[in-house]
C-alpha cells in the first residue's frame, strides 16, 4: 500500500512539472475545466505505456456565475471573471454597483447567494472553516479605511499576520521584516513603529495597511478603493506601491476603485460593473472587460459617461427614483 501511495506522488510531481505548459492551455480546455469541481486532469498514455494524469493549473481566482442578493436587494448578477497570475485587474463603476461586494466574495467575506468562487481551483464555499482560514493567508487585503487594529501599535499591526502564521520566525526576525515592510511603503520605522493608528495621518494609515497586507508575501492583493480620501500626491504614491507589488513581487491584484486615473495607471485590465437596479433583466451587469486603451474607444454610452465623469441626466433620473 505504501508503495502505491509513493508512485501516485511521483506521478503528481511529474504532472506538476508540466504546469507551465498546462497553464497556457487553460483557455482551450475551459469546458472541461468547468465540468470539474477543483483540480482538472486529463488522462494520457506516457512513453512507457502507463496511464498518467496531467494536472492543469487552474487560474489563480475564478468567479463562476456569481449572484449576490441581500434580503430583497440583488447586488450582483451572473458575474464571471478570471484573474490570472501576475495580472492586475481594476473593477470600476459608480458607487453602489457592487464592486466592494464582489471584492469581498473573492476572499469569502461575503458568501455568494448562488455561484462559486475558486481560489487555485478550490471552491471557497466547500472549504471547512479551518481550510478557509488557511487559504486566506495567501491573500493580502488593503481596506478602504485601512482597518488597522487600534488596540495595537503600528509595528504590532504589521507584525500581526507574521505572529499568527510564521511561528518559526524569532522576535528579531519579525521586527526586521516589519522594518523592511514599513520602509518599502515609504514610512520611517523609527518614527511610526510605536505610534497607535489614531496618532498618524490617513495616508500613513493606508500605507501601514498596505505593509500589513504584504507581510505574508501574498499571491493576490485585493485593494478596496485604496486612493479614496487621499490627496493627489498620496494617491499616486499608493498607485506606485500597487505597481511595485505587481512588478517587483509578481503579485496578482484586484483593484476596486472609481478613480479612473489610478485604474488606468495600475491595471492591465479593466472591468466595469453597472448598478443592478438600473439594468433590465436581460442586460449583463459587467458592461466592459478589456484593456485601458480599449476602454477609451468603447462606444457604450454608460462606459464613456463614467470614464469622462459626466452627470448628464443623472440628477433628474435620481430625483425620479431611478
Amino acid at each position: 500500500m505504501f508503495g502505491r501511495k509513493r508512485s501516485t506522488r511521483s506521478e503528481e510531481a511529474e504532472a506538476y512539472a508540466r504546469d507551465a505548459h498546462a497553464e497556457a492551455s487553460i483557455e482551450e480546455d475551459e469546458a472541461q475545466y468547468r465540468s470539474r469541481d477543483s483540480i482538472v486532469g486529463s488522462t494520457f498514455i506516457a512513453e512507457n505505456g502507463t496511464r498518467k494524469v496531467l494536472r492543469r493549473r487552474p487560474p489563480l481566482l475564478e468567479i463562476d456565475d456569481l449572484n449576490v442578493i441581500f434580503g430583497e436587494n440583488q447586488v450582483l448578477r451572473d458575474i464571471n471573471l478570471k484573474i490570472r497570475r501576475g495580472e492586475t485587474v481594476a473593477i470600476i463603476g459608480e458607487s453602489g454597483c457592487g464592486k466592494t461586494v464582489l471584492l469581498k466574495t473573492m476572499i469569502g467575506l461575503v458568501a455568494p447567494t448562488t455561484g462559486r468562487v475558486f481560489f487555485k481551483g478550490n471552491d471557497l464555499a466547500t472549504l471547512s472553516d479551518k481550510e478557509l482560514t488557511e487559504t486566506r493567508a495567501h491573500y493580502g487585503f488593503v481596506f478602504q479605511m485601512a482597518a488597522l487594529f487600534d488596540s495595537m501599535t503600528i509595528a504590532e499591526n504589521v507584525a500581526f499576520p507574521l505572529r499568527q502564521h510564521r511561528k518559526e520566525m524569532s522576535r528579531r526576525e519579525v521586527a526586521e521584516r516589519v522594518e523592511f515592510l514599513l520602509e518599502e511603503v515609504g514610512l520611517n520605522p523609527r518614527i511610526v513603529s510605536n505610534k497607535t493608528p489614531s496618532e498618524i495621518s490617513g495616508g500613513m494609515r493606508k500605507r501601514v495597511g498596505f505593509a500589513r497586507a504584504l507581510a505574508m508575501d501574498p499571491e493576490i492583493m485585493l485593494y478596496d478603493e485604496p486612493t479614496t480620501g487621499l490627496d493627489p500626491i498620496m494617491s499616486d504614491v499608493v498607485n506606485e506601491l500597487m505597481i511595485s507589488a505587481r512588478d517587483r513581487h509578481k503579485v496578482a491584484g484586484v483593484l476596486v476603485t472609481h478613480d479612473m486615473k489610478s485604474a488606468v495607471k495600475v491595471a492591465n485590465r479593466l472591468v466595469m460593473l453597472y448598478p443592478h437596479s438600473m439594468l433590465s433583466a436581460e442586460q449583463p451587469q459587467m458592461i466592459f472587460d478589456g484593456s485601458a486603451e480599449e476602454i477609451w474607444r468603447c462606444e457604450d454610452s454608460r462606459v464613456s459617461q463614467f470614464i469622462r465623469g459626466e452627470a448628464r441626466d443623472r440628477v433628474r433620473d435620481m430625483s425620479m427614483g431611478k
Partner: protein
C-alpha cells in the same frame, strides 16, 4: 355599496399588513436565535479546536476579572446591608430577629449573589464587549482579521467566552462574601442582633450545596453574557448608531437571559437537592 367595498378592502389591507408585520418580526427573531446558536457552536468548537492565544487570554482575564472585582464587591456589600434593612422589621414583628442572618445569607448565596454578579458583569463587561467588537465590525477590523487568515471567533470571541466562564464563579463568590459581611455588619453592629445567634442560625440554614448551586448557576450566566454580547457586537449595524444599539441590546438581552436561565436552573437544582438531601431546610 361602493363605500362598503372600499371599507372592506382597506380593512383587509390593514389586517394583512398587521399579520405580515407580525410574521416578519417573528421570522427575524427566529433567524436571530438560529444565528446565535450557530455562533455559540462555532465559539465552543474553536475553544477546543485551538486554545486561545496567551496574550488574548491575559487581556480578557484582566478586563473581565480584575477590573470587575471592585464593582461586584461593592454591589454585594450594599445588597447584604439592604437585605438586613428590609428583613429586620418583618422578623422583629414575630420576635425572630436572631434568625435574620439565615434569611440574608441564604438569599445571598443562592440568588442575589450570582444574579447580581452576573448583572454587573453584563453591564460593565458585556456592553463594553459589544461596543468594542461592534466598532471593530464597523471599521472592518473583523474583516481584516478574516482576510489575514485569522478566525475572528477564535481570536476575539473564544478568549472572552472562556474568561467569562472561568471567572464568574469567583466574582460570585466575592459578591457572596461581601454580601455576608455587609449583612452581618448592618445586623449586628447597627441593628443590635446577637452575633452568636446570627452566625449559628446562618450556619444551620446555609448548606454547602447552596453555595455550590449559586456558583454553578453563575457559570451559565457568564457563558450566556459572553455569547450574547459578542454576537451583538459581531452583527452590529453601520455607524455610531449601530454600535450604540449593539451595546444597549446586548445588556437587555443578557439580563433577560440571566433571569430566564435563573428560573430554569432553580427548578433543576431544586429537584437535585430534594433528590440528594431530601426535603429542604427552612429559615424558620
Amino acid at each position: 355599496m361602493n363605500d362598503r367595498n372600499q371599507n372592506e378592502t382597506t380593512l383587509r389591507d390593514k389586517i394583512i399588513g398587521q399579520v405580515s408585520k407580525m410574521g416578519r418580526a417573528i421570522s427575524t427573531r427566529v433567524a436571530l436565535a438560529g444565528n446565535l446558536a450557530v455562533f455559540s457552536t462555532s465559539t465552543i468548537f474553536w475553544l477546543f479546536a485551538k486554545p486561545p492565544k496567551k496574550e488574548t487570554l491575559i487581556s480578557s482575564f484582566f478586563n473581565i476579572g480584575v477590573l470587575s472585582l471592585p464593582v461586584v464587591m461593592l454591589t454585594g456589600t450594599f445588597i447584604g446591608m439592604v437585605l438586613a434593612v428590609q428583613a429586620f422589621p418583618q422578623f422583629k414583628v414575630i420576635g425572630m430577629e436572631t434568625r435574620i442572618g439565615a434569611a440574608i445569607n441564604l438569599s445571598l448565596v443562592k440568588e442575589l449573589g450570582p444574579v447580581l454578579a452576573a448583572t454587573m458583569l453584563a453591564g460593565r463587561v458585556g456592553s463594553a464587549i459589544a461596543a468594542e467588537l461592534g466598532t471593530m465590525r464597523v471599521t472592518e477590523q473583523i474583516d481584516a482579521l478574516s482576510s489575514m487568515g485569522v478566525n475572528p471567533i477564535h481570536y476575539l470571541v473564544a478568549p472572552r467566552f472562556f474568561a467569562c466562564l472561568i471567572l464568574i464563579p469567583g466574582l460570585t463568590l466575592f459578591a457572596d462574601l461581601m454580601g455576608v459581611i455587609g449583612g452581618a455588619f448592618f445586623s449586628i453592629k447597627l441593628l443590635g442582633v446577637d452575633w452568636s445567634y446570627y452566625w449559628e442560625y446562618s450556619r444551620h440554614t446555609v448548606a454547602m450545596f447552596d453555595v455550590f448551586a449559586g456558583m454553578f448557576k453563575s457559570v451559565f450566566f457568564g457563558g450566556a453574557i459572553a455569547l450574547i454580547c459578542c454576537h451583538q457586537g459581531f452583527r452590529c449595524g453601520a455607524g455610531a448608531e449601530g454600535v450604540g444599539k449593539a451595546a444597549t441590546s446586548s445588556f437587555v438581552l443578557s439580563f433577560v437571559a440571566i433571569l430566564f436561565l435563573d428560573l430554569l436552573l432553580d427548578v433543576f437544582l431544586d429537584q437535585i437537592q430534594t433528590m440528594v438531601f431530601g426535603t429542604r431546610g427552612s429559615v424558620m
